[in-house]
Structures are given as C-alpha cells and as structure tokens.
Symmetry: none
Subunit: 219 residues, 4 copies
Amino acid sequence: MPAQTFRKLPYRPRDAVRTRAGILAAATAAFAAHGLGGARVDEIARGAGVNKALLYHYFGNKQALFLAVLEEVYANIRGAEAALELETENPPEAMERLVDFTWEYFLEHPEFITLLNSENLHRARHLKRSKQVRALHHPLVDRIGEILERGIARGDFRADVDPVQLYISIAALGYFYLSNAHTLGTVFDRDLLAESEKEARRRHVQDVVRGYLRPVVLS
Amino acid sequence: MPAQTFRKLPYRPRDAVRTRAGILAAATAAFAAHGLGGARVDEIARGAGVNKALLYHYFGNKQALFLAVLEEVYANIRGAEAALELETENPPEAMERLVDFTWEYFLEHPEFITLLNSENLHRARHLKRSKQVRALHHPLVDRIGEILERGIARGDFRADVDPVQLYISIAALGYFYLSNAHTLGTVFDRDLLAESEKEARRRHVQDVVRGYLRPVVLS
Amino acid sequence: MPAQTFRKLPYRPRDAVRTRAGILAAATAAFAAHGLGGARVDEIARGAGVNKALLYHYFGNKQALFLAVLEEVYANIRGAEAALELETENPPEAMERLVDFTWEYFLEHPEFITLLNSENLHRARHLKRSKQVRALHHPLVDRIGEILERGIARGDFRADVDPVQLYISIAALGYFYLSNAHTLGTVFDRDLLAESEKEARRRHVQDVVRGYLRPVVLS
Amino acid sequence: MPAQTFRKLPYRPRDAVRTRAGILAAATAAFAAHGLGGARVDEIARGAGVNKALLYHYFGNKQALFLAVLEEVYANIRGAEAALELETENPPEAMERLVDFTWEYFLEHPEFITLLNSENLHRARHLKRSKQVRALHHPLVDRIGEILERGIARGDFRADVDPVQLYISIAALGYFYLSNAHTLGTVFDRDLLAESEKEARRRHVQDVVRGYLRPVVLS
DNA sequence: CATGAATGAGGCTTCATTCAT
DNA sequence: TATGAATGAAGCCTCATTCAT
C-alpha cells in the first residue's frame, strides 16, 4: 500500500524519457507473461503507472509497442553478448563461454523466450519492419566465425561448421528446454526447472556442443 | 431408434463421431495458426461446418477443446514414432532414424510446434489435467534408453548419456529451428525455410547428434 | 417504466426480421439526430432494445449500418413519390402536386435532411457503394420529363427546362429552408418553423416554381 | 518590455494577433472539412503550428472556437456582399448581381456551406449565443427590400415578394446544389461539379429567380 | 443431435481537456 | 505568451458463451 501512495501523489514524473522507459518495462513484462494477443493494454498502463492514452501517445499502438519491446530485448542480449571476452587464445574456452552465456541469459531472461515465441506465432511480422535488428546480428556471426577459424587452425574443432547453424544449435539446446519446460516436464514427469536439473542441462548442452565440435578422428 | 430415424432423414449413425472429428480438425488448424488466445471459436465452427452451440455441446468450452487437440497431436506423434523400426542390430542407425523422424515430423506437422508453444505460454495448464499423456511417453524414454545401452555396449556411443536429455536435444535442434525460423531468418537475413536450407539443417542436426554421441577418445 | 418491464422480461423477439428492422429504425433516429460521427452505437443498441453485439452481427459496422439507413430513406421517399398521381391531364397541376409532396415530405421526414447532410459531409462515400440507389432515381427524372413535355406542348410551360435542374430546384427551395432553419431563423430573427411561416414558405415555393415555369412572353 | 524581451529572442509584439488568426484559419479548415464533431483539436493546433494548450488559452474550448469561426465566416460573406453595388438604376440588374454574387460566393467558399450545415445539425446552438450576427443581417434584408420596391414601382417585378423568402430562395438554389452535390451527383449519375455543369446551374438559378420575379400577366 | 438468435464483459483506441513549467 | 506531459471518459468493436427451439 505504500507504493500506491507514491504513485497517487505528485509523483507524476513529467519526465518523458523515464515515463517511456517505464511503459516499455511494463510492456515487456506483460507481453512476456501473456504474449502479444494475451497482454492487456490496460495492464501495461497500470503497470507503468500511467494513463492508457499516454502509452498510445508514445508508441502509437499495441503492435508498435510490441516491436519496441522486441527491439529492446534483442539489443539487450546482443549487448550483453558483445561484452563477452571471446577473443581468447583458447577457442574451446571461448566457445564454452558463449554456450554458458547463452544458457544463462535465457535462464535469467525468461521474457526473451516468450517474446520471441509470440513474435514467431505472428511469423515475425513486426520484427521484419525493424531497421536496426539485422545490423545487430552481423557481429555475432562474425565473432563465432572467427572462433571457429582459429579453433580449426589449431586442430581444436572439426572443419565443416557453419557459424549460423552452430549458433542456432547452441541457442536451441537451451531455448527449447526452457521454452517447453512445462510440457516436457509434464509428459516426462520430471521437474525440469529444479535447480539441479537446470545445472544438469547446462552441462549436457556443453557436452553436446563440445562433443559435436571435436575433430573427426579417422580410425 | 424408431420411426423418427427415418422421418428426420439422413440420420446416419456415427455422424456424431464424424462431426466431432471435424470440429477437432478445424480446432487444430485454428489453434495452430493463431494460438489458444488468438483462435476464434467462430472460425473453428465455420471451419467444421457446424453451429457454435454444437461445439460447446461436444467439448464444453474453448479450453477443453484445446486440451482435446493437444491430446490428439501428442497421440499422433507418439503413434507415428512407435511405428519406427528402432530395434535394429545397429544402434547408430537406429539413432539416425529417430533423428530423421523427429526432424521430418516437425517439418510436416508445423501445427505441433505452434500448439506446444501456445500450451507452454500457459505453463502447460491444460496438459497437466490430461490423464493419458504421461503414459504415452514412457515407451519413448525406454526405447531410447535401450538403443543407448546397446550402443554403449558395442562401443558406438559415449557412456554418460541421459535418454531424456538426449531426446530433448534431438527435439530441440529441429523444433527451435522451425519454431523460430521467422525471427532467426529475419535477424540473420537468410531464408531458413528454403528447401536447401532445410536439408542442410537436417544434416547439421544429424552431425550434432552423431558427433555428440561419439565415444570420448582419450589421446 | 412499463416499457422497461416489457423489454427486460422474455420479450426477446428471436425474430431476426423484426430485430433487424428495429435496429434500423433506432439507427435512423440516432444518425438523424447527431449525424454519422455524432451518433453513438450504444444509443442505437439501447434504442433498439438489443445488445450492441447483435447490431454488429447484423450490419458489420457503424458505416455499413449508416449506408443501410441511407438506402432505406431513399427507398422510402422514392416509394412515396411513386405513389403520386402525376399523369393527369393538367401538367401545371401535376407539377403543383410534386412541389407540395416534396415540401411536405421534407417537413414530415426531418431525418431525411440530416441524414443527407451527414452523407454529404462525407462526400457521399457510403452512398457511392450502393448498388440500388441509382436505379431508384431514373423513374423520377423520366416522370418529370414527361410532365414537362406535355406542359410545353400545351403551352403551359416555358420550353428550356432541364428536368434534373428543375427537380434540384424544387428540392432546394424546401430542403434548404428546413435544413438551415435554425441558422436562418437566428440571423433573420424570425421563427421559420412556426406553422404560419411554414405555410407561407409552401406558398412561396409554389410561386417560385410556377413563376419560373410560366412561358416567356415576348412583349 | 525590459531586458527579457531581448533575451528571449524574436518576441515581436502583435504575435498574439497573428497566432489567434492562425488558429482561426486552421479551425475553419478543420471544421469545414469534418464538421464540429469530426474536427480534431489536435489537427487544428498542428495546422496552426501551435500547442494545443495555447488554443485553449485563446478560445476556451472547442465549441467557443467553433462559434468564433462561425462569426468570422458570417462577417466575411456579409462584408463581401456589402461591397456589391446594388443601388443601381436598374433593379433587375441589381438582382442579377446579387444572385451571381451569392452563387459565386458559395462556389468559392465551400467551407461556408459545411460550417452552416454543421451548425444546423446542432440547431444553431452556438450561433444563438452570438451577439454580433443578428445585426449583420439587417442591412441585407433592407437592401433587398429596396431593390424590390424600386423594381415593383417600375413594373419590373411582381408585387407580392417577401425579401427574406426571396433571399432564402436565392441562397437555397445555389447552396443546396453545392451542399448536396455529392449525393445528388451519385443518385442522378451526373458530375454536378464539372465546370460546365456549374455554369449551367448558375444560368438556371438566374432563370428561376428572374422567371419568378416577372410580373404576373393577366391574360 | 442441431441451430439461429442473443448477450455481458471486456479489448483497443481516441479525444477534449488540464497540469506544471 | 507558450509548451510538452498527462489524463478521464468514452467510443467502436470483438468474443466466448448461453438461450430457445
């Protein structure tokens, strides 16, 4: 009840930047929890502590707001990723770091998963309109390519690896597990989100990627 | 089954069964296309060529209908899977068959993916109520376990593999690619659903699984 | 309060034709009173004693409902007009009847005027989509043409009259007076809608039309 | 008018007058295009290049702004009319000039028509509050009365003409044609706003007024 | 078994207007 | 004088569901 007190009293920010960010945050939460169609504009406005009309003033409509959210979460993950130290002497270690980062990012940002699922249900209709998002991903592919090259040169990795395929697989192994944890947990009767299970999955994913990348030995 | 039957015209028995199946088919299509929240009861009824009230008569409400759809698609995939010949002499080949089957099933049954995504958005709320679905999955885990055992015994596979983790990974590598093809295709600027790309993915998935399962060689 | 009683109790018609007509009537009243933009769907539904959703079920949207109203009022005026006995021996008398009818119709159907004004504000956007309305007006032009021909032949009328221009003038003299009675009354400080004034206008319109149609005498 | 004036930059005096006029012009355009209810305060402010709050500062509210617009357009038409040279030796010529002026004014000021229609939809609620508008119209009636008197005295005109009725008819013949051009054009399948049609209408209106005013000849 | 008619609740969006500076 | 930020009220429309036959 104190929160209310703060919101009701003269805490109307009148700070466009902060208000906009607040709306975006509330929208991210709502879209993540219920999907684009399931989220309620009313709830978002309430969550941001503003009037619905203001939301429309800033973002135009629900779909544009959804796109803004998508662009932000993409910028966030790629931003965090960019901060990784991957240009190490040791390509397998770099790869391990990338795998760990990806798994942990999904784990700590469940909204990323639901948001992308929702966008895919709509066949990426919104994202396709984005002008920034493509550019965000070139560096990622380049960096993975460089790690692979160095690793192949050193004999750490097998030679025939497509960086995009590899990245999709790294993501897939974590994303699918988390995205579908509820149905998988139900049908396999196993609490996949228990801490120990999550740690087991992390190791499994590392194993799969490492195992796959091992050079092929001819007997 | 008196005179009425004749007076009221083509009242073939089993109509009820067929009508029910028609509704289920229309519902599958609608839920797959738009998700649970996005599908319209009106559209389902129209698609099945029946009155909305009849749909309620048969299934009670939208959510129960959704669960019926889920149960059906799970039964379908597990049924097709069960028909696979995996008890071969050659465990790597059996594994390859399972991987191919899984990839191809997802490819040919895109509804399976959207339906599960939708159910996961709802944290498997409906599926948890199902009494049949769990039983459906025991054989799957058992069979994978058997293949692994035989393969390990023969030195085909590494020794530390959890069948459930493995199955989740096999599914993940295909499912995520297809489920997120639209966003991935957009951000990587690549048509992941082109025939050649799909075939490349199939090979990649095989490579990953085979690579992972290779016994660990100590130098 | 008895009306309510009837509406609230099992007087849900379940008679599609009657319900539809009721909605149309309520819509006519509302659009006439407030224009297309000013009328409220809520008010229309309440006026018809039905739920808003039903209105959308029958008419699709507000604009389609507006068009349905327009088509109905046009059909009504042209229908009433068609019932006039104009094929008399005496063309001036026929003309007089048409003038009187037109004036009185506008007087007794003020909704016709506001509806058309509203549609003209929208540049006839809705009416242009109508398939029926054009056909409705051919007979009118033909009949006026015939009266004129006979009158000219008999020396009752001047010779150079375009039937469409004439009809527009006959309508104009009454329509504008009634349509703009409020502003005209205000600026000229005169109650143009008093009974005596209306009767005076009727005579004036007859005078103008008769005066105009008189054959031109060369001195 | 101290230092501030120089510090705050181009604060020309009389800006207020110009700003007000700009708002009025934008409002006239918007109300003419969409009616009172259909016009958007936002659009008016944008059109005037000012902040919405300023508009409220100057005019109080939308309805008061609408009244201001009405008063201006009435002042404009009566002002232009007053500049006509009607006190000629030749009453029929004076009448012809008035008819031409009226027609042409409507033609060149379509906003006048839509604004009055909108005000009449509201039963002249705003205009009735105006203190200036009534006074504006006395001279008009007087002048028409004088022309009529002189013409009757000279035997140019019939004797029983009410100046207000006559003016209303002169206005009606042009106003209704233009106001309802879209619906009339649609139902009669004729482009009433083509240049040739407009010129034909002008001549027709002149014919009707002249024909009506001709003295009644007793055979 | 099957249907057409009807509805309550709620969703997205718009808009005139006011506030704080 | 002028502004950008913010809002309450309401408008159009949709949707899952029920009723009466």
